[in-house]
């Protein structure tokens, strides 16, 4: 029987090509995503290993402020710590480190790196062994207005040694570039930009006080272990200051990135890979089912000459297992290409990931292959069982492959019985026909038939006989059509659900912006809402004669009620003049330094009311207890917590605005006002100035970008679904050889034949797409109800987008039909009509 299985595979190699491809693609995607995860993990490990390579220990504050994504931001420590560290026995060298943010403005007047990567500023560490950067050109900064920038940033901004430039920290600082640095051998840490002042310059421009530094980096005497060094440092440090070994620091950073970024990315990617495999399973099942039906006679013959049911089942399963194994292994190899492509895609979308070769862990390889094999076997099980149930008697009759009969063995048996009954009643043919009409119609089959007929209804009028033939072909076997479309249904359901949920979220954000923003203009830091606008800009704008009010909304890392996060801050009284926060309780007018405002949702969750005390840790490590001064309903712009600007400014060295809201003076037109604002903004790195409408429209931009990535990921599932349709049509064409030969003989041109196959493909694709949209809408509705917590307030159906999905589905059908159509058209007329 094993030989039979092998022969079977070989004989049906063309038909199984589609199945092979779907398993291959599914596994390749899964393997690729897992490999991407492995690779990123390894690259981050390597990166942080390099960053801390020469550092044996770091002395830093115990107070951590930021939640995620940030570079492990902590409260500063006194600059005097440095002297104490240097005095410790066993310390060979110790250097102060100052880290913060700084946006380098390129030669074109725009921010280098735009909205993408983190933009860091700090001090140039004098000891080359403690500094992960190497000078490639020029020299280290000596005075407060000299900087070294990393090669990537310099190239991106068109800056060279000797050039003058501006760094926003966030106040603009005029600097001269005296050196260009590389990170190891690469031009930077991913696309991150880094501007290094002298230590004094960094203290002035980044830390903004001379008596504080971010940390001390320490090198021990040769032969002294890191643990021993840390143990010796510890007693010398004051309270709230800790020492950590260099290797532990690297591991800690890898853990951070794992938790905050990689795990999430992996989950999302694997979810899409799983979807691709699921869609693939439908395609696989479909192909096996058709092949099994086509081979019903062969199976019956085997049974008739003495093969047991078990042997027939074994042969079918062996065939499936072989295919599963080969395709999965090939998919593993294909995964490498997918991983590279995915990485390139993320790069293209602006998520710069660290460079480096692909990394494949044995676990990932095993998971991908095992998933492929198991899914394929499961999908092939039912058709294999069906093959084994074909009665020997079926060998004796002309097994109908298509027509109302789906080809499943159970049905064949049933119709055989009907035939036999009809024969006994006299007149086998009439009996057969009657059986055909009275055959049990399942509701689902009827539904598919009805839907297909409806979708294809305009075809005969559009395309005449070609249309009629395509329509009838699509309806003739509703079960097969349904199976062919099922994979696409799954894919499109997800596309629809995500599109509708995304649109609803976008609409909610837009609505919220439209509801609450009462001003005329908004100056924004960028898509990622990086707070990079200096507070001085808002003050300068407010002083313009064309401007009535200009108020900045800042944001930054802090700890509120024990939770680290990025929180908004503003002069609430001024803000409420331009942004309607929908005040629910308390007053926004007199928060002063001692009170904060919170959203109604947040207040409810935490059990806060006006007057409740809330513990806050500021970026400089200062602790304070604020009370709730106001509760507001509109969280679209300010988020859940609004800290008082007056307090924030004192405790955040790099206090910066995310958005500056502007209202124009009476009588000033929007265009004139915008021009005036832009003239000022030009000198501050030219942040984008939006009109009210532009601001409202841009509110959902982030969602749009995420959606576009999701679509790319979903495209693969849809491609696999199309393979299923192409597969079905190729098989149908094979079955209809004689019919096609006849049509060609009596005068159907090759073009007409191709069109017939193509239109059938379009009908199936449209059926799948429509089914997916119909299923996706209620799912999306439920998701938006559940999504209330993340700010989805409205359920909005993007009719235009769904129409596009439908059109793309139809066009995809054309694509799916290309190969089967071409094969059908190549048909040798003579051989077809002579075919047995």
């Amino acid at each position: 029987m094993r030989r039979i299985a092998l022969n079977g595979l070989w004989a049906h190699k063309r038909r199984l090509a589609g199945t092979f491809l779907s398993v291959f693609l599914g596994v390749a995607f899964l393997a690729g995503t897992l490999m991407l995860g492995d690779t990123l993990q390894r690259n981050f490990e390597r990166l942080f290993g390099e960053v801390t390579a020469g550092t044996d220990a770091v002395v830093r504050s115990t107070t951590r402020i930021d939640d995620d994504a940030g570079p492990g931001q902590r409260a500063p420590i006194p600059a005097s710590t440095l002297a104490r560290v240097r005095a410790v026995d066993g310390v060979a060298a110790a250097e102060p480190s100052i880290e913060g943010r700084g946006t380098l403005i390129g030669a074109d007047g725009r921010a280098v790196g735009r909205d993408g990567p983190p933009k860091l500023a700090g001090n140039w560490i004098a000891d080359p062994r403690l500094n992960p950067y190497r000078l490639a050109e020029g020299r280290a900064p000596r005075t407060g207005d000299e900087v070294v920038v990393n090669r990537g940033a310099a190239d991106d901004g068109g800056l060279r040694v000797g050039d003058e430039a501006t760094v926003r920290t966030p106040e603009p600082v005029r600097v001269r570039i005296v050196g260009i640095a590389t990170f190891g051998s690469s031009s930077g840490v991913g696309a991150t930009t880094f501007t290094a002042f002298s230590t004094a310059g960094a203290a002035r421009h980044v830390m903004k006080r001379p008596d504080a530094i971010s940390s001390v980096v320490v090198r021990g005497e040769p032969g002294l272990s890191q643990a021993e060094l840390v143990a010796r440092l510890r007693p010398a440090l004051g309270s709230g200051i800790e020492a950590i070994a260099g290797d532990r620091l690297a591991a800690e950073r890898v853990d951070d990135i794992d938790q905050t970024f990689l795990d999430g990315l992996r989950t999302v990617l694997v979810a899409f890979a799983g979807l691709a495999l699921l869609v693939g399973a439908f395609t696989i099942h479909n192909t096996f089912a058709i092949v099994a039906a086509q081979r019903a006679r062969e199976s019956a013959l085997l049974r008739a000459v003495g093969a047991t049911r078990r042997q027939v089942l074994g042969a079918a399963l062996t065939e499936t297992a072989l295919l599963a194994a080969v395709a999965s292994l090939a998919g593993l190899v294909g995964g490498i290409a997918i991983a590279s492509a995915l990485k390139a895609m993320f790069d293209a979308f602006g998520f710069a990931l660290p460079a480096g070769g692909l990394e494949v862990s044995a676990t990932s390889a095993l998971i991908a292959v095992a998933a492929g094999v198991v899914v394929t076997l499961l999908a092939g099980l039912a058709p294999a069982l069906a093959a084994s149930r074909v009665p020997p008697l079926a060998a004796l009759r002309d097994a109908a492959l298509e027509g109302e009969e789906g080809g499943a063995s159970v049905r064949q048996r049933r119709s055989l019985t009907a035939l036999a009954r009809g024969a006994r009643a006299g007149g086998a043919r009439a009996g057969g026909a009657r059986a055909g009409r009275s055959r049990r119609r399942r509701p689902l089959t009827a539904l598919v038939r009805g839907a297909t007929a409806l979708i294809a209804a305009p075809l005969p009028r559009l395309r005449g006989t070609v249309g009629t033939l395509a329509r009838r072909n699509a309806i003739r076997s509703p079960r097969r059509t349904a199976r062919a479309a099922s994979a696409l249904v799954v894919g499109v359901t997800v596309v629809t659900a995500i599109t509708v949920v995304g649109f609803s979220l976008q609409r909610s954000l837009d609505d919220s912006a439209a509801r609450s923003f009462d001003g005329d203009l908004a100056v924004t830091g960028g898509e990622f809402e990086d707070a990079s606008l200096p507070p001085a800009l808002a003050r300068e704008l407010a002083a313009l004669p064309q401007v009535a009010t200009a108020v900045g909304l800042g944001s930054g890392s802090a700890r509120v009620d024990g939770r680290n996060g990025v929180y908004a801050n503003a002069d609430a009284a001024a803000l409420s003049r331009l942004v309607d926060l929908d005040l629910r309780a308390g007053s926004l007018d007199a928060l002063g330094r001692g009170a904060l405002a919170v959203s109604a949702d947040e207040a409810e969750q935490r059990g806060w009311r006006v007057g409740s005390p809330v513990a806050v840790v500021y970026p400089d490590g200062a602790r304070a207890t604020l009370r709730v001064g106001a509760v507001y309903g509109e969280e679209g712009i300010a988020g859940d917590v609004l800290l008082p600007r007056a307090a924030w400014e004192r405790h955040a060295p790099q206090s910066a605005d995310r958005t500056i809201f502007v209202s124009l003076a009476p009588g000033v037109g929007e265009a004139a006002g915008k021009a005036a604002v832009e003239r000022v903004a030009e000198r501050w790195g030219a942040p984008e100035t939006q009109t009210r409408q532009e601001y409202v429209d841009a509110a959902g931009d982030g969602v749009r970008m995420v959606l576009s990535i999701v679509y790319v990921l979903l495209a693969l599932a849809v491609v696999i679904a199309l393979l299923g349709i192409a597969n079905t049509l190729a098989l149908a064409t094979h079955e209809r050889t004689r019919e096609l030969g006849l049509l060609r003989a009596v005068g159907q041109t090759r073009g007409q034949l191709r069109a017939t196959v193509r239109w059938e493909a379009v009908v199936i694709a449209l059926l799948g797409t429509t089914g997916g949209i119909v299923l996706g809408l209620p799912i999306a509705f439920l998701l938006t109800r559940l999504g209330d917590a993340v700010g989805i307030e409205t359920f909005a159906v993007p009719v235009a987008q769904l129409a596009i999905v439908l059109v793309v589905g139809g066009l995809a059908g054309v694509l799916a039909g290309v190969r089967p159509a071409r094969r059908a058209a190549r048909l040798d007329v003579l051989r077809a009509i002579a075919a047995e």
Partner: protein
Amino acid sequence: MTAAPSTAPYARTAPPPGSAVARVVGATKVHGVGDTAVTALDDVTVAFPAGRFTAIMGPSGSGKSTLLHCVAGLDALTSGEAYIGDTPLSRLSDTQLTLLRRERIGFVFQAFNLVPTLTVRENVTLALDLAGARPDRDWLDTVIGTVGLGDRLHHRPAELSGGQQQRVAVARALASRPQIVFADEPTGNLDSRSGGEILGFMRRAVDELGQTVVMVTHDPLATAWTDAAVFLADGRVVDALDDPTPELVLDRVRTLGG
């Protein structure tokens, strides 16, 4: 039904009786190459006159089906030329051949003559529909009436008996009012009564509708319905017979060693 009234309206399109509607000159067809080459047709020259019912007879492997396929533009000759009217087929592209088949030729095959998804009526007008041509209603009614299918027009082929299916095929072949109808063993799968009906329809198509029919068969009884028979053996024309009767045909077949 008398010949005169039904023939008259259509006589203008039919070529003058006796001139050749289809012919092959020096037709040679070799299948395969080298050692496995088989000569199916060996320098055959034969013409099929207009307005007549001609049989091509011969034992299995004599090349009769190959001759039919080549003259009908379904297969290409190795050498020599096939003509429909005055059109040499070897110079036509696949599309031109297809259009020629659609407009000028009708086919009846031994089996699987009908598209299962189309109704009887749709099958009958298939070639016309593919051409986007408007069927001539009178002619269509005449054809459908001739083969007696008026009450089955909206049935699907699966609901018809084998004999009925072949009648639809004959109607389909005639529907576009072709210059010539080729029938390849049209009664091969039928019982003698149904077969007789089919032959009778083709006979009437020639007598009453002025059509030209060429039929491949190995059945002497079927040949008896024709006006003339051409005998093939080993790829050559070995004999011809006018007004064949079953006895004459059997006699020839025996002489030829078929």
